[in-house]
């Protein structure tokens, strides 16, 4: 699957490792279960490590551990399954995770902006996706009523900064 990060196609630097597979050298992504059972060994590795959250696994399970990860993958098994949006927000805001959050699975054009707003910064997309579609999907809407993980100020706030700025002039 093509991968978009920072508004450009990029090579995936990580390999998925199944729970019963021997860990290869290099960057790996393991399941949450494997992370939990082999945590002591995994943190001694020298290569960057990623973990994958299924949609029924709460990001809370990574509390206290996020600094170990270079990548957290959030799976969207169907685009309708919106649990991953909460996971991303919890990772960014509550757990203060600053590494890469990658959306994988059924990741469609009309979800990209919401995912980005929740803190996702890389996207596994369908083959054939055009970069201009990605760019336009992220810019079609520019009015955000609520704070999220992307540091946009909310409309509630912007209105009054505008007023204050005006009053200050």
């Amino acid at each position: 699957m093509p991968l978009i990060k920072n508004a450009a196609f990029t090579e995936n630097q990580f390999v998925h490792v199944a729970d019963d597979e021997t860990l290869p050298q290099g960057n790996v992504i393991v399941s949450l279960k494997r992370w939990q059972t082999e945590r002591a060994d995994l943190i001694t590795r020298n290569a960057p490590i990623g973990v994958r959250l299924n949609s029924d696994q709460s990001a809370e399970a990574l509390a206290g551990d996020v600094h170990h990860f270079a990548l957290i993958e959030i799976d969207f098994p169907k685009f309708r399954d919106g649990r991953g949006y909460s996971s991303a927000r919890i990772l960014r805001q509550r757990l203060a995770y600053t590494g890469e959050i990658r959306a994988v699975g059924d990741v469609l054009r009309d979800q990209w902006l919401f995912m980005k707003r929740c803190g996702v910064d890389s996207f596994e997309v369908r083959p054939g996706t055009r970069l201009e579609d990605f760019r336009s999907a992220l810019t079609e809407q520019t009015v955000f009523y609520q704070r999220s993980s992307d540091h946009h100020r909310s409309v509630f706030e912007r209105r009054h900064t505008a007023c204050q700025a005006l009053a200050a002039e």
């Binding site: 709460s58 685009f79 949006y85 704070r147």
Partner: protein
């Protein structure tokens, strides 16, 4: 009422451009119907039995004259000259062509309207008290808070793919006219001992196939924390609401399964976290800005008068459809969309124009849509009531049946809806015609009769004093009757009487129930009061003995 600023307008305009592109891609074949479906559902466009249906949001049921005229214009230009007001205070067009929908949305945007989040598993149009700002019993205008919630929930990035649709209702009066306890979240605004606004948050009410009454989860939430509390509740639901079974995906099932206490605990934990981030605390200056739009209009200093005349038809309408206003000399007028034998909630373009004109001249330019599928002119001078009634009556809008047995709520049913098992409109028409006699209706008194054409309960049958549910038995329509439901502050779910009736037998069955009520009632009792006192048995015995 609220007016868009540059941000609100831009949000809606951008959406029109975006959806126009999506429709163009669908029409050119670039998008398949499967790919297009989630996009159109984000914009209130359904594919029904015979045609597309477009559902337009009317936030908390408040419209300006200009907006209502635009709705009439769209009905005339793009549809079959009428539209349908729904139990969600929205409006539906039943026959739009897909190619016209971008133009319809563009027309709506010129009057600060849209169809955003009127479908899909997101936070839907916020509903509220249709007497807001006019009724003496409210502690604040609930539309201020409904508008704040509307904005916060619009394009919410985290809560646009919830397990299921999500409905929030707000009231600020002890008399609940917004049925808040049968919503996913219902909010009651009170004033505490220090006269400060406090928000009680009820969670997990709902109708559908599992009717449940909401539980108070948040008590006395402070105004500035309201959005943080809602966000906390939504996050718990988004993570833990069931997604494996569409019929068990509403928040009411989660609350029912884990219990109200556990729900309260989980939300409380999340609430602390959300508040700690601080980003949702509402700035007072913003609350004030929005509140200012809902300031009372410039009422004249008048005295209450007795508007009765020598015209008995007017006097009956006055008694039934006109309610007390908080300001002396004014009155609240309910415009019935339930003509005898008509289709509940339907209005022609010409009728919408008449109501818009009256609102402009006689009600400070404002119209309300009630969840009972009527329109409301909230601020009419008592001295104008006769003129208003004459003009309404001339347009076929003078039916004096507000709150009576012919003021029926009915969903569109199998005449339009893809989900329905049976027709609703025919039953509403038959009952309305049977009980057409004005004196008899008034003799029966307040009676909320509600009809749904399937278990999804869009016609609110669970909370009807008499509820009727259409079912399909081997291709034949049957109707199951429930008694004792109520959507007000004493909310209750109706109890099933017994085996269902065939279409032709329903009016007789209702007659029998009314006979039992007449035989059993104590002075001053409404149908619901009698039912609550004597229980279902006398009704059941008589009904099934007779049939």
């Amino acid at each position: 009422m609220y007016r868009y600023d540059e941000f609100d307008q831009k949000a809606v305009d951008e959406r029109v451009v975006q959806f126009s592109g999506q429709v163009a891609r669908r029409l050119s074949g670039e998008l398949t119907e499967d790919e297009f479906k989630p996009l159109r559902l984000m914009n209130g466009l359904y594919l029904q039995l015979h045609a597309y249906m477009l559902r337009v949001a009317i936030p908390y049921g408040t419209l300006s004259s200009k907006q209502l005229r635009m709705l009439a214009h769209i009905a005339r230009k793009y549809d079959k000259d009428y539209a349908h007001f729904t139990t969600r205070q929205n409006l539906q067009y039943n026959w739009p062509r897909l190619a016209d929908v971008p133009a319809i949305l563009a027309d709506l945007a010129t009057v600060e309207m849209h169809a955003i989040q009127t479908s899909g598993n997101c936070i839907r149009n916020v509903t509220s008290d249709h007497f807001a700002g006019a009724s003496a019993d409210e502690v604040d205008d609930p539309r201020i808070w409904s508008e704040i919630i509307r904005q916060w929930s619009t394009f919410h990035p985290e809560f646009s793919y919830l397990p299921r649709k999500f409905k929030i209702a707000v009231t600020a009066a002890p008399k609940d006219r917004a049925a808040i306890k049968v919503h996913d979240i219902g909010i009651i605004i009170r004033r505490d001992a220090a006269d400060v606004l406090a928000f009680d948050v009820y969670v997990g009410g709902g109708q559908g196939r599992t009717p449940l009454i909401g539980h108070m989860i948040g008590e006395s939430i402070a105004a500035e924390d309201l959005l943080a509390y809602l966000e906390a509740t939504m996050r718990v639901y988004n993570q833990y609401g069931r997604r494996d079974n569409i019929y068990k995906a509403r928040i009411k099932i989660l609350v029912h399964q884990i219990g109200a206490d556990e729900m309260r605990r989980q939300v409380a934990v999340e609430f602390v976290e959300v508040k700690a981030q601080g980003a949702l605390a509402l700035p007072q200056v913003e609350i004030d800005r929005i509140a200012a739009y809902f300031a009372s209009p410039a009422f004249e200093t008048l005295s209450d008068e007795n508007p009765t005349t020598a015209n008995p038809a007017f006097n009956v309408w006055l008694e039934n459809n006109v309610a007390k206003h908080k300001v002396p000399g004014y009155a609240i007028v309910t415009v019935s969309l339930k003509p005898i034998g008509g289709i509940p909630g339907d209005a022609s373009a010409a009728q919408m124009d008449v109501v818009a004109g009256l609102a402009e001249k006689c009600s400070f330019d404002e119209v309300r849509v009630s969840h009972e599928q009527n329109l409301v002119l909230a601020h009419v001078r008592q001295r104008d009531l006769l003129t208003v009634w004459q003009q309404l009556a001339a347009a076929g809008l003078g039916t004096a049946n507000y709150g009576l047995i012919t003021d029926i709520i009915a969903c569109p049913g199998l005449d339009y809806c893809d989900l329905a098992n049976a027709r609703s409109i025919n039953i509403a028409q038959a009952i309305s015609t049977r009980f057409a006699n004005q004196d008899r209706q008034r003799e029966i008194g307040e009676l909320k009769l509600k009809i749904s054409g399937c278990i999804n309960a869009c016609g609110h049958h669970h909370v009807g004093h008499i509820g009727i549910l259409g079912v399909d038995k081997k291709g034949v329509e049957f109707y199951q009757i429930t008694l004792g439901g109520s959507g007000d502050e004493t909310a209750s779910v109706g109890e099933i009487l017994g085996p269902a009736f065939g279409e032709a037998d329903v009016p007789d069955a209702i007659e029998t129930l009314i006979d039992v009520y007449f035989a059993k009632r104590s002075p001053g009792e409404r149908f619901l009061d009698t039912y609550r006192r004597v229980g279902i048995q006398p009704f059941r015995e008589k009904l099934y003995a007779a049939h």
